[in-house]
Symmetry: C2
Subunit: 243 residues, 2 copies
DNA sequence: TCACATTTGTCCGTATGTATC
DNA sequence: AGATACATACGGACAAATGTG
């Protein structure tokens, strides 16, 4: 294993597969900003000709970039083609869901991580919250209330509350992780949506959190949130347990 | 957009591309546990025949799974082939690094997130720490001391300290995120490694954190860690700023 | 050491569906 | 409606790598 040492003199020569080199070249152009989201890549045939590889090789490279969330092919045919985008957060989210499905992450770990990240978000939010954030938060709880008045549960909107809250942290890394975990929760909850009664309890807690945030009461917001998550996570454990 | 409603009767018919269906089929087999890490997939030609698609289609599907970290092809030829694995955490880490390189995440966000996650880890660690954890932590600082005695800086080992600490949280989601952020830091630091002097200061702080953890002193450990990160993050900002 | 089978890596040519003008 | 542009998919072929006898 000595040859695996990173500063070994005899590290492997350029040995990678052709499509890996192609993918790397295009990826570099994207992350360096020479290609920006929305830019259209040349047609596959032209790419193949300019890179001096076959079309199959180009296509395999594009599949890697596509899964990375760096390109997509929304339309075929004339005027269509492969387009640059930046969907890395969505890709990460999808991978979290996969990891959960593979049981390489446990429900306990999920609920623990969620609670601590939401606590962390509240600490950030209290310091960085602006009027627009408060407007969004209250709009979310109001929407849940409207749904409840119409007699339907609002679990998806309740989950959205936590996304809106995550944005208040003004930190996109925290937001990204919080969102990924929320999507995992969503993937569990879609099987067995909560009852109207549970949804009402949830929005009451959410409103209490917003009220505490409004008066910059960190401890109050934390306390309400943790009690809320205790209830919700108990449901999640139950749903995940019987599947 | 009414047709996008999930419970619409006339949702789109099976319209995805062929390689996406192939990739999904294999992925399902992996996440459902019918294929386990280490299992060998059938040869591409056999897969193509059994799925009734061309080999090109199979290969494009494999490239998606490969980027997801679900398969790899370590060897070609006889006895080689595509093998199942679970490298989702590594894939997520790589995507964080990409996102950082694309400037879609800022250095401020990185240092903020890192500090709060390390604080979170310490809170978990104080409650869940066992003797083996303490042994690993002290072994890490001792290794840095040895390197310093030999006159070389130990920044890579210092980063490893945070990885070891993350494991003490006993939560693989937290560990995964912490590790991803550490890799981003590593990718910044490799350009301009810290001086021996800075490395010594770092290990002193690390030792103080371990001492506090040993006596289950949460506030002490937090305080040492936050002061430590303040110094380190200042360096990171400086390095990242002049690139 | 030398064939030999296996399996991936890569290329070419062709046909087809789809979207734009 | 027809021509054009482009991705999707198929088939066949050969090179290169790897393990086996």
């Amino acid at each position: 294993m000595a040859a695996d040492s990173p500063d070994d003199l005899f590290y492997p020569v350029e040995n990678r597969r052709s499509f890996e080199r192609v993918s790397e070249r295009i990826k570099d152009a994207i992350v360096d900003g020479r290609l920006k989201a929305g830019d259209r890549l040349p047609p596959e045939t032209e790419l193949a000709a300019r890179l001096d590889v076959s079309r199959q090789t180009v296509r395999e490279a594009l599949r890697m970039l596509e899964h990375a969330g760096l390109v997509e092919t929304p339309k075929r045919g004339s005027g269509g083609g492969t387009v640059v985008r930046n969907a890395i957060p969505e890709t990460i989210t999808g991978l979290f869901v996969d990891a959960m499905r593979m049981d390489s992450l446990s429900v306990d770990e999920l609920t623990d991580a969620r609670a601590s990240i939401d606590a962390l978000i509240i600490r950030f939010a209290v310091e960085r919250l602006d009027d627009e954030d408060i407007r969004r938060l209250t709009e979310n709880t109001a929407e849940s209330r409207r749904l409840h008045a119409a007699g339907v549960e609002a679990s998806m909107n309740d989950l959205e509350f936590h996304r809106v809250l995550a944005r208040c942290s003004k930190n996109r890394i925290i937001e990204l992780v919080a969102n990924a975990l929320l999507c995992v929760v969503t993937s569990i909850l879609t099987r067995t949506p909560p009852t109207l009664e549970m949804s009402i309890k949830a929005v009451e807690r959410h409103e209490a959190v917003v009220a505490a945030l409004r008066r910059r009461d960190t401890e109050g917001a934390l306390s309400e949130m943790l009690q809320h998550l205790e209830v919700v996570d108990a449901e999640i454990v139950q749903i995940a347990g019987c599947s």
